[in-house]
């Protein structure tokens, strides 16, 4: 059987990206949360904030390491797997990645050292500064990478000669039209994801009656965040969709399962898109509502897939279902936020066990929504890798398919094992929870660390403190 190098390269890219984004989704939000905890600690002097900050810093360290190593892989994959892409748009896209390295990666990677290991070397205020810089670095990193990605979705500020893109106006390149909302949507997604993990952790401990004071703070802070940000995400997402309608109409049609643009557009709630027959099977739809949402007019119309030549149409199935999954999760998140806020207002947040049980299961929701959202975005832009300039099929490297197949298998196995174990470790840390009152910070480093290991009996002491055998 002939191996399909293009397909293998795409699967490999999708796999490595999907693993990578799990970690930024969490570390972008968590670094900001840790900075807030540290600030609260310095302002109020309450030990519980310190132990919370230290607890989440441990979790952060493990997650961040996985984010870094999976990210480095990606930065080289542009060359290894998409070398024609690197030449065709390198003049425009590469500088954006270059700026990301210079303004974000060095910042976060360098101050990470102080944030994690500086506790017995520098005053607490400097830890706060380092944590804030790390948080800033992660957000700047998102800025540049999403700028590059948005330019690929709808390129502006360039000209194409002989198939190669040249920059003309950098401001237009960096701020291409789909960028502002994509950046806002992604940052909000990251903060939401983290908030749900924080709330779930707090809820688990409250339900088990452990670390009660710290757990209450986690639940309260997280729920407050969700109550504000989840509805905001709906608004941002809606506007983001309007951008899609304007700049990538074929993607929007695929997301909506919309085939025939000559009729008033319904809102398809469910169906199974059938590309061969150019319609949805088993469709459940609300007439006219789609037109209202997209064209903002009852009976409004927007282009359907039939208006695009088959060779310019994206696959429909994946964007269609992934979009419904994302929006579905978004709605559940809004409910979680509003119900939580209502309970909080009535001072029943910590007693409502049903709510805590519900929240304790919500931790994966942000990750799922983010994966779903990226699937919509990336599959929906096919068959282009850079809309109008370069088709995915023309972007590949001159590498034999067997090499790609071999490395794909290696990625699959190694990522599953390494990141699987990593996620297991993170979970173990979360279950253990914060260690109470460690104001003797200077001598007492982050638990289970070298002093413990080096001094005989040290580890036993720490295990005893953490309630481990």
């Amino acid at each position: 059987m002939e191996l399909d190098g293009l397909l293998l390269a795409r699967v490999q890219m999708a796999l490595t990206l999907a693993f990578h984004i799990l970690f930024p989704a969490f570390t972008i939000g968590l670094s900001a949360y840790i900075a807030v905890l540290l600030a609260l600690w310095l302002r109020t002097g309450r030990d519980v904030y310190e132990s919370l900050a230290r607890f989440w810093t441990k979790v952060f360290a493990v997650s961040f390491a996985m984010g870094v190593v999976s990210g480095i892989v990606l930065s080289y994959q542009f060359g290894t797997n998409w070398s024609r892409f690197s030449v065709a748009v390198g003049n425009v896209v590469a500088p954006l990645i270059g700026y990301e390295v210079l303004t974000a990666f060095f910042l976060e990677a360098t101050f990470l050292g102080i944030m994690l290991f500086g506790w017995n070397r520098v005053p607490p205020r400097l830890i706060l500064v380092a944590a804030s810089l790390v948080a800033l670095g992660t957000a700047i990193s998102a800025f540049w990478i999403l700028s590059a990605n948005s330019w690929m979705h709808y390129p502006t500020g360039h000209e194409v000669r002989d198939g190669i893109a040249y920059p003309v106006d950098w401001l237009k390149v960096v701020f291409s039209p789909t960028f502002p909302l994509r950046f806002a949507h992604m940052l909000t997604a990251a903060y939401l994801t983290t908030a749900f993990v924080v709330v779930a952790t707090g809820a688990r401990h409250l339900l088990a009656g452990r670390h009660v004071e710290a757990a209450r703070i986690m639940v309260k802070m997280g729920v407050g965040m969700i109550a504000i940000v989840a509805p905001l995400q709906l608004v941002i997402g809606d506007h983001h969709g309007l951008d899609t309608a304007e700049y990538q109409p074929a993607k929007l049609a695929a997301m909506e399962g919309h085939w025939d643009g000559s009729k008033a557009a319904p809102l398809v709630l469910f169906g199974i898109p059938n590309a061969a027959a150019e319609r949805n099977d088993y469709e459940v739809a609300i007439p006219n509502l789609g037109g209202l949402i997209i064209a903002h007019e009852w009976g409004g119309r927007y282009p359907g897939l039939k208006e695009f030549e088959p060779k310019d149409r994206p696959p429909v199935l994946m964007p269609f279902f992934a979009f419904r999954l994302m929006v579905g999760i978004g709605v559940v998140m809004i409910a979680a936020g509003l119900v939580g806020a209502w309970l909080m207002a009535r001072r029943r947040l910590f007693e409502a066990r049903w709510y805590l049980v519900w929240q304790s299961w919500m931790w994966p929701s942000g990750f799922l929504a983010i994966l779903a959202g990226w699937t919509v975005t990336e599959v929906g832009r096919q068959p282009w890798v850079v809309t109008g300039i370069l088709r995915t099929a023309d972007a590949t490297s001159p590498v034999v398919a067997e090499s790609i197949a071999g490395t794909l298998a290696a990625f699959f196995v190694i990522y599953a094992v390494v990141f699987g174990i990593g996620i297991f470790y993170v979970n173990r840390l979360l279950v253990r929870g914060p260690t109470p009152g460690t104001t003797a910070a200077a001598e007492e480093p982050l638990t289970n660390r070298p002093i413990a290991a080096a001094l005989p009996g040290g580890r036993d002491a720490i295990d005893a403190r953490e309630g481990q055998p």
Partner: protein, 334 residues
């Protein structure tokens, strides 16, 4: 300014690569020394001596790769597919060693697998870096501006030897770093190892130099024709002197000097390679000028680099300064 942009960018990339090789070299090297002790406390201490730095160190690799793409997209698009397998093997090696920094502590007391991952990941990464370097010096098959060879073109005896050479060099950097940063048993132990490694490194450097000169007319001509011979003769001479100095200083109990000397050896090696390769960025056919991005792109990125790189260097120094001084047994940064 425009005609100089490719040369300036080549300089920036050489600096990034040099920073990477030196900085990540010593933390990969420390991992390579893991099997020389089985004592848990010693291993803790070895890992701790680099834990606050490794991520920043590795970022220079991202800058090296990213910078190559920014400034020389054509070279990037040829080199990466040409070294597809070693590049990906290197990245996967770095996955193991990177996560080991954190996983090892969380896994305790069952951390042995992560000790092994730390060592093996670093070994694979170091070896692949050497192979890529060697393969690049030997040359890459190019047709119509794209890589035109097979998946195992890089696997020549010379490249494999370069893999061993770089691995040995990193181990020396790691050992001399430990001599500088630790004391007690572990420092003595590192000193003993370093004394043997310095000899191996000098042998490798000589072998690599002679092999390149003998196998390539272009390179032989660069070094041995007059007046180049006169101008370039100091490079190998200084290398030999520095090598001897490192060895002497190790014998006499020097603490900083062996590390500094090893860095100098690496820089000299890099200088030698640059002299052999210039003006090619992908020997033997693609020059810096062929591969350069358009001036508008090189300029845009250069402005950013000129503003941010000094800041990066400043806070890198700040972090190293924060964690300055010797680590005593049992003392961790964590």
């Amino acid at each position: 300014m425009e005609p100089y942009l490719p040369v300036i960018w080549a300089g920036v990339i050489v600096v990034a690569v040099a920073m990477y090789v030196i900085l990540d070299g010593f933390d990969l090297g420390i991992a390579l020394l893991f099997p020389t002790t089985s004592d848990e406390a010693e291993r803790d201490q070895m890992m701790n001596s680099v834990a606050p730095f490794w991520d920043g160190n590795e970022t220079w690799l991202v800058l090296g790769g990213g910078g190559l793409w920014v400034a020389f997209p054509l070279a990037y698009s040829i080199i990466m597919p040409a070294f597809y397998l070693p590049v990906i093997a290197m990245l996967l090696g770095l996955v193991f060693r990177g996560v080991a920094f954190e996983f090892r502590w969380v896994a305790k007391p069952s951390h042995l697998p992560w000790d092994i991952a730390f060592f093996a990941g670093s070994l694979v990464a170091a070896f692949c870096q050497g192979v890529i370097l060697g393969g690049l010096v030997e040359g890459v098959a190019v047709a119509n501006g794209a890589f035109a060879g097979g998946p195992f073109d890089w696997a020549s005896p010379f490249a494999l030897m370069c893999g061993c050479a770089v691995t040995t060099g990193y181990a020396l950097l790691g050992a001399t770093f430990l001599v500088m940063k630790t004391e007690g048993r572990i420092a003595d132990h590192a000193r003993q190892i370093a004394k043997r490694l310095i000899i191996a490194v000098l042998v490798f450097m000589a072998a690599v130099s002679l092999w390149t000169a003998l196998s390539s007319e272009r390179i032989a001509e660069r070094w041995f024709s007059l007046p180049n011979l006169v101008w370039l003769a100091p490079v190998p001479l200084v290398t030999a002197l520095v090598g001897f100095g490192v060895w002497r200083s190790l014998e006499r109990g020097g603490e900083m000097a062996p590390f500094a000397g090893t860095i100098a050896l690496f820089l000299l090696g890099l200088l030698g390679l640059a002299i052999s390769s210039y003006p090619f960025i992908v020997p033997p056919s693609v020059t810096l000028y062929d591969a350069a991005a358009v001036p508008a792109s090189q300029m845009f990125s250069l402005i950013g680099a000129m503003i941010t790189l000094p800041m990066v260097l400043a806070y890198t120094v700040f972090v190293y300064w924060t964690f300055r001084g010797k680590m005593r047994p049992g003392q961790g940064y964590h």
